[in-house]
């Protein structure tokens, strides 16, 4: 990590470690789950230039699998989340494989269509509990030791998972593989002409992103002790797009800031009922019009080192 990133990262860790003594842990855990989800999404849109409109499928399905295996099979939480991650990755492999041959808007449309199939499956299948979802999921003990029923035990587990996911995304972006991803985002035909089978790189990125979305979804179902249709429907795919755009596409901290802003907003605006959606839409439009690069993107563009500004990507 360069100096600026390292300092920002340490500040973020310090803030998050202290936060539950000031703010409600449940609120913070919600932010962290969505932050991880948005980081996973940003890996794809910000660094490969692939706009997926179906990420709720990975997030939501992983939530169901974690909730089901923990509640019905009595699996410990760590295994439940692991199975959630595997579910995300496996679904990512199938949906990614089908979508990656398409370009641009067609890619987005295919991911949306396939995630709708997953949604309808979740509505129909008996084990997902239909409209009720899977309720009263026991949080259990992490590795048989840490009692997740205690708010701080759960909080620091979620924080550890978030940080691990965040660092994994950082590493992926700054790896030999990440270099090829950036090349694909910048100029795919040129990358092909250098001998890279770009579809394979895109597919691996898609699977990694879906897996991390799965970790986020599985964790969320433990935090709220609930897996429901909300997390698997298309609005959730839209929400993660919104978070990433508001925070800053293609910036490492952007999705975290975006998730914090949107979740906070939803909390405080909850009293306005269905107006929340309209207010969100309004904020989205303001964002697109006034700070196109997102919050973090604009800050970096103004104060950061030259060339540090995010590079965007979705074509």
């Amino acid at each position: 990590m360069d100096r600026g990133t390292r300092i920002t990262f340490l500040a973020m860790v310090a803030l998050l470690v202290a936060a539950p003594y000031v703010l409600y842990p449940v609120f913070l855990m919600k932010v962290l789950c969505f932050a991880l989800f948005a980081c996973a999404f940003n890996l794809l849109v910000g660094y490969v230039g692939l706009l997926s409109f179906g990420h709720a499928a990975f997030f939501g399905s992983a939530g169901y699998v974690t909730a089901y295996t923990v509640k019905m099979w009595g699996l410990p939480p760590e295994l439940g989340i692991l199975l959630g991650a595997v579910t995300g990755a496996a679904l990512g492999l199938v949906i990614g494989w089908l979508a990656i041959r398409r370009q641009g808007i067609y890619f987005a449309m295919i991911t949306l269509a396939l995630s709708q199939i997953v949604f309808f499956y979740a509505v129909q299948a008996p084990w997902t509990g239909g409209e009720d979802g899977i309720q009263s999921v026991p949080r259990g003990h992490l590795f048989g030791v840490v009692d997740l029923q205690r708010p701080l035990g759960m909080y620091y587990t979620v924080l550890a998972l978030f940080l691990a996911g965040f660092l994994l995304v950082y590493r992926i972006i700054h790896s030999p593989f990440g270099q090829v991803l950036k090349a694909i985002r910048e100029n795919e035909p040129r990358t092909v002409s250098l001998g890279y089978e770009t579809d394979r790189y895109k597919l691996l990125a898609f699977v990694l992103s879906a897996m991390l979305a799965g970790v986020a979804g599985g964790t969320k179902s433990l935090v709220f002790q609930l897996a429901s249709l909300t997390d698997v429907q298309w609005q959730m795919s839209g929400e993660v797009v919104l978070m990433t755009l508001v925070g800053g596409l293609g910036t490492i901290f952007g999705p975290v800031v975006g998730a914090a802003v949107i979740v906070t907003m939803q909390n405080y605006l909850a009293e306005f009922g269905s107006w929340v959606t309209i207010i969100q839409g309004f904020i989205f439009v303001v964002c697109v019009l006034t700070f196109r690069r997102g919050i973090v993107g604009e800050i970096m563009g103004r104060f950061g080192p030259k060339g540090a500004a995010p590079t965007g990507g979705g074509h």
Partner: protein, 251 residues
């Protein structure tokens, strides 16, 4: 595989919805030569390049590279086989630095390009070679510059460095000197001449003095068909070629 011709096409044809852009082209590129493909705008030169490198699928005909039929190969595998192309429109990675641009090409042979868990520091060993290539195209002072911010001529030079980084057996250059000033042109022409010593170059170029200087063989394309072929002195006197070019004002 030391055949006389490194690349051969047989009746290569490409049709776009009824419009024949390339018609029955038989091209033979001799090993270790610089071969020019010239012709007026819209003649089909770029389309031929796209067919040869498999960015487009031929409607008919075959392509042999080193005696091997690559008519149905994948574009990336053609590149890995040693035939690497450049593009007519500038094709750098605009948000990467000059050095990173070249490094993307250099890193492939390491075999770590799927290693998402490995630090990018593992690529630093490539910097020395990258810097040599960057120097060869006269970009040393721009090493850390962002590629997208380079002037047009410099971007083209960077593309050549990136192509050379793969040490290709055969290079296909689509108008490598378009948009360059006089000084840049002679530097790049000298470089092409130098690197062509132990490889084969097929290039599209509108600047005929460069063609006359560099190229051993010239193929003239017009409306998708081969109009003439031979060394510069012969082709430039061909009445059909003179007529085709007078019409477009190139000579």
């Amino acid at each position: 595989m030391a055949g006389e011709f490194i690349l051969e096409t047989r009746d290569l044809t490409k049709e776009f919805k009824g419009f024949v852009a390339v018609r029955q082209v038989n091209l033979k590129v001799r090993r270790h030569t610089i071969h020019a493909l010239i012709g007026p705008n819209g003649a089909g030169k770029t389309t031929v390049f796209n067919l040869l490198t498999r960015f487009l699928t031929p409607s008919a005909g075959t392509i042999l590279y080193n005696g091997r039929d690559i008519t149905h190969a994948k574009p990336a595998s053609v590149a890995r086989g040693g035939m690497v192309r450049s593009f007519q429109i500038s094709a750098v990675f605009p948000h990467l630095s000059v050095r990173e641009n070249v490094r993307v090409a250099l890193q492939r042979p390491l075999g770590t390009s799927f290693h998402f868990w490995r630090s990018e520091r593992s690529l630093e060993g490539l910097h020395e070679r990258a810097d040599e290539l960057i120097e060869a195209v006269g970009l040393s002072e721009f090493r850390t510059a962002i590629a997208g911010e380079l002037p047009y001529g410099r971007k083209r030079a960077l593309e050549i460095a990136t192509t050379l980084a793969l040490d290709p057996e055969m290079m296909l250059l689509d108008e490598p000197m378009a948009g360059m000033g006089g000084e840049d042109i002679s530097r790049i022409a000298t470089l092409i001449e130098k690197v062509a010593k132990d490889r084969t170059v097929l290039m599209v170029e509108h600047n005929l003095s460069v063609v006359a200087w560099l190229c051993n063989t010239i193929t003239v394309l017009q409306r998708g068909e081969v109009l003439a072929e031979g060394p510069y002195e012969q082709v430039s006197k061909d009445p059909a070629v003179v007529e085709a070019y007078i019409g477009t004002g190139h000579v």
